[in-house]
Symmetry: C2
Subunit: 601 residues, 2 copies
């Protein structure tokens, strides 16, 4: 049967040949995860994804969620069985401490399982995904008591979790939120406010309690982000024996009708309508934003994975379709009758664009996950800091760049299907629709670009960017020694050097009175940086492939494909990247200069 979610061989390649994640098993923390175990895990994950999760994706889209009034939300029934399988198979907290119900896996290994799960049905995976994020907050900032009550139940998926940030007047600007927390004198707080866009905010089919980490402002706290605290607010209060107590006055008042991710309910939640919503402080007073920030990178990487997983599925569908669909004669043999459309240059071009982006995105995301494993197993503080810094600077790429490109890939995936791509009977339309949200939530891609230029680029006097450049240069250096890819390496080097020039220029401009012009180029800069990272990954892959050629015929087909991806991207995409960087250097400020009134007269 044709592969429908992710290319098995390529996942194995990234894990074992490019990143060699099996090597983490030499550290005690990850000693259980040698190559053999990893392969077993991935095999199980793939099986679960293909056999159980994927079959629910269409129903999830078509049936969607319904708000039945009186606070009741119904999610697709088929999700329940799958959620229980994920829970029973202990897939809900793969990377967490076994003490709290986790599996203690390296992040890079868990990512491969997540790739399959999210590629199969990411709207479904949002339920355990947010639950995991909620657990992470409790683990990181909870008191011993909070951990004892909630953590294991959340990590094991017995109770679901969410994240309550957004309000009608506070989207990208979280600091504008108005939900209040009134101290009760007993260490608890009464919470009052309205939250919107809460994924998985209400349901009863997956869990009998839902734990909401809530951003709110303690009465009298300063305005803006520095007065925001984080609270733990369960849907039902929990008795001392762990059983469920009183309803905690968290009511769903409606769900959104969205363009995609229909299977995940997007709820409006009203807290304390009856003045009876009690929360406990999670972490420190007025440190809510800082606490959230600590979790944000991981959440953003998950969103990158969601977008990428759509792209990967869309790509495989497109290849399968293009090999089967006969339409039109070959350009060089017009009289011989119809051929499969994969033979037409424009279809092939689109497939090769998709292939090279999918491979590059996979490597970027796995590398990002691996940075955490490297930090975890670092031999000293400097090394640890370096890997953490790489994860920091690569996060806007892994979220912003990846989801931008994932959406483009999904659009190509629709185009290859022709008219059938637009018909909901086929899978491409849902993938395009679902993918689109990943450019928006968890910080719009504009916010990601600002994060890269405004925060990450300047961090530690530019050390993060220099470390990233050094890693890329290392790959270039190695590729230069290998016949067949040395030329490509030289081209990536040229682009990397130009990126350095652009970063310098933008960094300076951002410090000058032209700061707005600099930020008007934040997104193009993220795109250029992403292109260079993609080229880096593709060159790295091609270098390994080139060295392995000629050993096994079947393997050569795969390795040659990797070389072609790199060749295509470096020769046909990087010249465009050069143009993008030139535009940044040219520094035109029309964006800033144009009168607001001139947009529409």
């Amino acid at each position: 049967m044709a592969q429908i979610i992710s290319e098995k061989r390529d996942v194995e390649f990234v894990l074992h040949e490019q990143l060699e994640v099996g090597d983490f098993s030499k550290f005690e923390k990850f000693s259980a995860f040698n190559k053999k175990t990893i392969d077993m895990i991935i095999k199980e994950a793939r099986k679960l994804a293909v056999d159980e999760i994927y079959p629910t994706v269409k129903e999830g889209d078509e049936v969607g969620c319904t708000f039945e009034g009186n606070g009741v939300v119904k999610i697709p029934e088929s999700f329940v069985r799958v959620y229980n399988l994920l829970k029973d198979g202990e897939w809900t907290a793969m990377t967490e401490d076994p003490e709290w119900g986790g599996q203690g896996m390296p992040k890079s290994v868990a990512l491969a399982a997540s790739e399959y799960f999210n590629g199969a049905n990411f709207p479904l995976m949002m339920y355990p995904g947010l639950t995991h994020g909620c657990g992470k907050l409790i683990e990181s900032f909870g008191t011993e008591e909070q951990k004892a009550v909630y953590l294991k139940k959340v990590y094991t998926g017995e109770w679901c979790g969410t994240m309550l940030l957004t309000e009608p007047g506070a989207g990208s600007d979280v600091g504008a939120l108005e939900t209040v927390a009134i101290p009760q004198g007993d260490g608890t707080y009464k919470i009052k406010g309205q939250k919107i866009f809460i994924s998985g905010g209400e349901q009863t089919q997956l869990s009998d309690n839902i734990i909401h980490p809530v951003l709110a402002r303690i009465e009298g706290a300063p305005a803006g982000t520095k007065g925001i605290s984080l609270f733990l607010v369960p849907k039902y209060r929990v008795n001392k024996d762990g059983s469920l107590g009183e309803f905690n006055d968290v009511t769903c008042t409606g769900i959104e009708h969205k363009m995609g991710i229909h299977g995940n309910c997007t709820c409006t939640l009203s807290l304390g309508e009856k003045d009876n919503c009690i929360g406990t402080l999670l972490g420190e007073e007025n440190k809510g934003m800082a606490h959230m920030f600590l979790m944000m990178n991981e959440a953003r990487q998950l969103v990158g994975l969601q977008g990428f997983a759509c792209a990967s599925a869309s790509y495989l569908n497109a290849v399968n379709y293009a090999k089967e669909r006969v339409q039109g004669a070959d350009l060089t043999n017009p009289k011989a009758g119809g051929v499969a459309i994969i033979n037409h240059p424009d279809v092939r071009r689109q497939l090769l664009i998709m292939k090279s982006y999918v491979e590059a995105m996979r490597s970027i995301l796995y590398y990002l996950a691996m940075c955490y494993d490297k930090a975890e197993t670092a031999e000293n503080e400097d090394e640890k800091a370096m890997w953490e810094g790489l994860a920091e600077i690569l996060t806007p790429i892994g979220k912003g760049y990846v989801t931008d490109k994932a959406f483009e890939v999904c659009s190509h995936g629709m185009q290859v299907y022709g008219g059938y791509g637009f018909i909901e009977e086929y899978p491409q339309a849902q993938l395009l629709r679902d993918c689109r949200i990943t450019m928006i939530y968890e910080g719009t891609n504009g916010i990601q670009a600002m994060d890269l230029l405004g925060r990450k680029l300047g961090m530690k006097k530019g050390k993060l960017f220099m470390d990233l450049s050094a890693q890329i240069a290392k790959t270039i250096g190695e590729a230069k020694k290998v016949d067949g890819v040395a030329d490509l390496a030289g081209k990536v080097e040229t682009v990397l050097n130009k990126l350095g020039e652009v970063a310098m220029h933008l960094g300076k401009t951002a410090m000058s009175e032209k700061v707005k012009t600099a930020f008007a180029f934040a997104h193009p800069f993220m795109e250029a940086t992403g292109d260079v990272c993609a080229a880096w990954m593709l060159l790295w892959r091609a270098t390994i492939a080139q060295q392995n050629l000629g050993k096994k015929k079947k393997e050569d087909i795969f390795y040659n494909g990797l070389i072609k991806s790199a060749q295509y991207f470096i020769n046909s995409v990087l010249p465009v990247t050069m143009g993008k960087m030139q535009a940044i250097l040219d520094n035109d400020s029309a964006t800033v200069e144009i009168d607001e009134a001139s947009f529409v007269s």
Copy 2:
């Protein structure tokens, strides 16, 4: 009230200041259409669009069409009233001969009305749009008898029309179709076959008959495109007195569930299920493809307009939203509290991208329409041929490039809305979904790119391309004389020269054994050509704007906006275009070389 479909001032600018379409009134054919009349027409069209058509767009999307079994299709009820208003207002055949119920307008003038109508609800406008296309075929190829029976009723919208090309095995490859026509010896044919993706293929609410031009193969005719003929097949036969006769055995067997354009039914039609479907030949035997081709440019331009109209509406919505939505502080004044998001550089960048593309697309499409008016009023055959040639070469740009960019604009339009963009309650999601089909139907944009490179570029030994270049060079020459835009003109000239080089290179490559590599760059070439055309139009606009500055304060706001669009596009987009062209010249052939098996291992 904020403008919601098209910017009134910009439409007026293109008509009267850029293209000066009122001048056509000096020719007898268009003598009724002086500036005053034109403005009156546009005003009425705008009123109809805003007051009557636009209010149906959301219901059309939400309710959509339903297949009720037994061949019955129901379209949104609110469309009926609007269709009748269009019919009663005589908007259904604006450019056609009054003899047949038309209004005899210049195409460029009619386009402005169409822009408003399509921007208000293009899925609805597909019903009269296809009806008009059907009429055009009857007018061009019908016998006197066919014209007498059908033409006026179709042009006036009393009967609806369609276009039956696609079959399950014949999409882009129309030549593969299998519908047969069996001569009955009395000049009529029995038609038998199945057609899919037929927009407006069945309904009873708008008209009591539907006229289907059908591509079919006469029994025994050659295989492929050269054996295809065109037939006129009514849903109900027509008696000699013009009254409706017997049902003609054209049955709808189902409709598609699509990602967008829900208000337009996409039907599967079965012809001759009971061996009782009678058609008459329209035009010459085996000339069906040639006849269709003659109509194709116009149909493609209409699709370009549909995509563009979505982009225009999405842009206006985004500007309106960005001026109202307060979120986050100003970058240069972080302590002063929230500002409207139009002040944030990344939002402004997206708005300016949208603005410059929308303006460029509007000018491209109106110019294209104007080419026909110029041809119609040409003083000699050479001039006429030149304008017809310009229309030919600009058609793939007006369809392929415009709809590619329109979809990008709609995606920006969603992004500016943040999370609200993804919610169907707001207009941006539908615009994105509806817009996406325009890249696919009426020849996918890959087909458009092949048309540009494989047909139009080489036509008349490259004369079309040279004429286009000469037109662009003329604008550059004029701009060079105007302070304030002369610099911009120089930059457009550089890009135009490079495009010439690229066209030469691709033309040669297409003739060599590397033909497939050339066609793998067909789409990038269309994109580069489109970028140059966009720059041309924006430069032209800016040149006029620059010369009008300083006369009226309110007008200066508008004119300065035009100059900023040109400045932005030329300084920040054209460097990327240069990169795209460099990639074409670099001529990498990974696309062609990659083994089919290497796509997925």
